[in-house]
């Protein structure tokens, strides 16, 4: 099993944000976690990527327990994430931002004497071209459009050459057109680079078009898990989630 959570639970005071969730993610899949706002999607994400520590339960990555590892170690093992509120480098250029990720992943950050600019030119350009930011390479992070910032964060995460890429609401705040673009980009990354992708989403139409597996969270509990058609047919899912919208 590629990534697995076993009865993972997170409590904030008396609130159980994630309640004994056991989830399995298969290598190479595009796996979506859906659920209404407040269902615990982001918290589950934070438990997997090391932003929060679980109250109980385990997280396993490629068979090894990573429950208590700090975020930076998980990243080194191959688990990288994006944030729901886009997290980029406002005063670094697009190019420099992606370069940072590559320097970190390829273990060059303890080099004190060579110019950083000399490293990984090809790799950075390849990523920028893949996500469609090559023409904005020398612009500062905070000077590009919202949609491009989302792309930039995706480009930065690609710099760590992840095996599992966790995207927290990758289409948050985007127009329909931008959403379609990002989704086809995610699809491309999955097929061309063989990256396993885990993402959260609240817009159903987006998820069913692309995800190979879907997990549904409701009030911190996993209520359904499986192929899109199975999830769609699930009665409980229809009741708590899809009922209102479809």
């Amino acid at each position: 099993m590629f990534l697995q959570t076993q009865g993972i639970t997170k409590e904030f005071g008396k609130l159980r944000a994630v309640n004994e969730v056991s989830l399995a993610i298969i290598k190479g899949d595009i796996h979506a976690i859906i659920g209404p706002n407040g269902a615990g999607k982001s918290t589950l994400f934070n438990l997997i990527t090391g932003y929060h520590r679980s109250t109980s339960g385990k997280v396993l990555f490629k068979g090894e327990e990573i429950t208590h590892l700090p975020a930076y170690t998980r990243c080194k093992l191959g688990v990288t994430r994006s944030f729901q509120i886009t997290s980029i480098y406002p005063k670094l250029t697009v190019y420099e931002s992606v370069l940072m990720a590559l320097l970190s992943h390829r273990k060059e950050t303890f080099n004190f004497f060579t110019s950083a600019k000399k490293f990984f030119k090809e790799e950075v350009w390849r990523i920028l071209e893949d996500v469609g930011l090559a023409d904005q390479a020398n612009i500062l992070g905070d000077s590009i459009s919202h949609g491009d910032k989302k792309r930039l964060e995706l480009a930065i995460t690609l710099g760590t050459e992840p095996e599992l890429l966790c995207l927290d609401e990758p289409t948050c705040g985007m127009s329909t057109e931008e959403t379609d673009n990002i989704m086809s980009l995610i699809n491309k990354l999955s097929t061309e680079r063989g990256i396993t992708i885990l993402f959260t989403e609240h817009d159903m139409s987006v998820v069913f078009g692309i995800a190979k597996r879907i997990s549904v969270l409701h009030q911190g509990t996993l209520i359904a898990d499986g192929k899109p058609e199975e999830v769609r047919a699930n009665e409980e899912v229809q009741k708590v989630y899809l009922g209102g919208t479809s």
Binding site: Y72, C75, T80, F113
Partner: protein, 314 residues
Amino acid sequence: MKRGWWLILLLALAIIAPHVISEFYLVILGEALIMSLFALSFNLLFGYMGQLSFGQAAFYGLGGYTVAMLITKLQFSFWLSILAGVGVASIMGLIVGYFCVRLKGIYFSILTLAFGQLIFVIIFKWHNFTGGDDGIQGVFPPGILKIPIVYYYFILVVFIISAFILWRIVNSPFGHTLKAMRENPERTEFLGIHIARYQLITFVIAAAFAGLAGALWAPFYRSVAPSYLTWIKSGEPVMAAILGGPSTFFGPVLGMFIMTFIHAYILGFTHFWPIIMGTIILIIIFVLPGGILEFAKVKIKERQERGKLTKGSS
């Protein structure tokens, strides 16, 4: 390339200067170089790591005291004493930094201030070991280094080598990581960077160069005093960086030169130096908020872009 010409010009000036100016101003020039090195060490933390240290003078003072004590009490070799000064400052930097890098923003500043004052008080009170408020006199460099102009060239060489090393560090992958951590620590941590470790290393490097500056100063001035370790001394590189521009590499150097020379000049006819300095800082903060060098950089860039535009349209 243009920047290269500036550096060569400045270097030529620094080499010629001692033959043109009086001995009084030669000492001031040496002081300005040493203090500039101190300011560069501080700006590694402030400008590049993004944390304001208010205790950097402790490492400067430790460097100076180590050299002074080794030379006067143990008749240690001058060169070994300088090395030892750097070593003591680095080890202290490792200990103090271990605690400080866990904190951010104002808490980092306050803790560096507290540690700085702690080290100051130990040196100030431990009379029979450090000489207390008498300081230590008679710190002589060996041989021809006793001649101020020779010692000045020695300072110049050490300054150039140190500045070059620091320049390489801030432009290296390590320096790039520092900037990324300053811009967005969370994002950087989630790229696999153990933030505290990088900050600790930076803190030690900064302490080492501050220690080197102090170690150079003691034999130049022939003495050390506990006032070198106070928070007032720690404030000098802060002001120099703000004056010259903390986001530029040479900003703190420019700031320190301005401060040192205006100070020396003004003391000739008034003791109200802090009023003058305060006014200058006030003006800079309101008129040129990024510091002098940052302002100049922006202006030059604007001009170049305007140049490109007019060329393109004609």
